[in-house]
Subunit: 235 residues, 2 copies
DNA sequence: GTCTATAGAGCGATAGAC
DNA sequence: GTCTATCGCTCTATAGAC
């Protein structure tokens, strides 16, 4: 667990291709990166990609396979360590950290987890069916395990209400890792979500607040077409 | 405000191109869509795109120009209608609805707002510099106006803390509109975030909970490398 | 396993007739 | 303003020498 960070130049051909492709796909999307640009960046011959991986799509699928197992194992390992303890935060916060931390911070590879999550995000927008398929295959099981744990600590909510809140957990996770720059610009640098530890420190209590929020009441909205604004002016 | 929904086939050539391109870019990304596929889908000649727009990038920029002004006007119109009133939700919820509703629901064009937000999301991942530039040009002003309004109703928080929360507002907005399908799969259809009114009904109170959450305390996390887990087992 | 060469197709953009 | 034709380029994938 304490090996040095591995550089792309140290890797053998197939791992070099995987590492370079992951980085480029995450930055520019699947359709925005050609196999030839991957060969140029990794110093590998164009035919080597087809020899080792067969096609562009299979290369992408191998990136998923390589990343998902360790991320999910780490999530389950942390989940198993969660327990009620007066010296610890509430169980809800512990479960949320167990889910979020491995997607933000990868041991010995600080950029690895954010980069892979960014790749998942861009792929699900460029190539919806392929992404939905890959993500379902690799993440349904662990996500449902966490939803069950969340249901157990929030017995007052229905399964549907917990899934609505899980949607916001996923939102915070994806957006923070794939668009950290927007708020840096808006805030003139006062706030930087690309600092993963700082993000996590905010995400856990914020998501806990969402999970504890009461179910929406029917009069929560006022501007909707269903509940038109009374147009009489004040003052 | 109550005109019928316009069909692509009713439009003149430049507007047809804009409408078709927006739809295809939103679904498959910028690099995933060729100008020729737009011409095939819209029944327009390839040269017409270059005649009317000059290039693929300028076509994209014109889509932004066409969408942003009305969305932002509607946000500011609703913001101006927010006021303290015992018969209404708290001001915070009103401001959040004023920000979110125009990005989820577009009058007379139910798919328009989600589609455009999806386009923004995919573009910011495929073509980061172009996207950051376009989004800054069209949204910085209105976003900062809302941050100022939020600061005014949350005087206990610093500007930085409000920006951290704004990050989560953006996250909920983008993810809900660009990846509604993930939770439908996870929940076996029990929960459907592509229902925009249902999403908004949850997003407003959930985001309000985030904005009201206290600033994170230093012992909020337990699994971090900085705060290692005590390894003694229980039981 | 690694390379060169190339097939076969699609791309953005433009020229120029009408 | 709309069309056809085409330039010049890049792409994925494969064939076949070494």
């Amino acid at each position: 667990m304490a090996e040095p960070v591995t550089e792309i130049n140290d890797l053998q051909t197939p791992d070099r291709i995987l590492a370079t492709a992951e980085e480029m796909f995450a930055e520019q999307g699947y359709w925005g990166v050609s196999l030839r640009s991957i060969t140029r960046a990794s110093g590998v011959n164009i035919a080597a990609i087809h020899y080792h991986f067969g096609s562009k799509q299979e290369l992408l699928e191998r990136i998923f396979e390589k990343r998902c197992a360790p991320m999910n194992q780490e999530r389950l390992r942390l989940l198993a360590e969660c327990r009620e303890d007066a010296a610890r935060p509430p169980l809800l916060e512990q479960i949320l950290e167990a889910y979020l931390r491995p997607s933000l911070i990868w041991p010995n590879d600080p950029d690895g987890a954010p980069r892979f999550l960014r790749l998942r995000a861009v792929l699900s927008q460029e190539h919806e069916t392929l992404a939905a398929n890959l993500i379902s295959r690799h993440f349904n099981e662990v996500s449902r395990t966490f939803v069950r744990s969340l249901l157990a600590v929030l017995p007052e909510f229905s399964e549907e209400e917990v899934f609505w809140r899980f949607q916001f957990l996923l939102a915070a996770q994806y957006y923070t890792l794939s668009n950290p720059g927007r708020v840096v610009i808006l805030s003139d640098g006062k706030c930087d979500p690309s600092d993963s530890e700082a993000s996590l420190r905010h995400m856990v209590p914020f998501c806990a607040a969402v999970f504890r929020a009461p179910a929406p009441s029917s009069d929560a909205l006022i501007f909707g077409p269903s509940l038109p604004v009374p147009l009489a002016k004040v003052g």
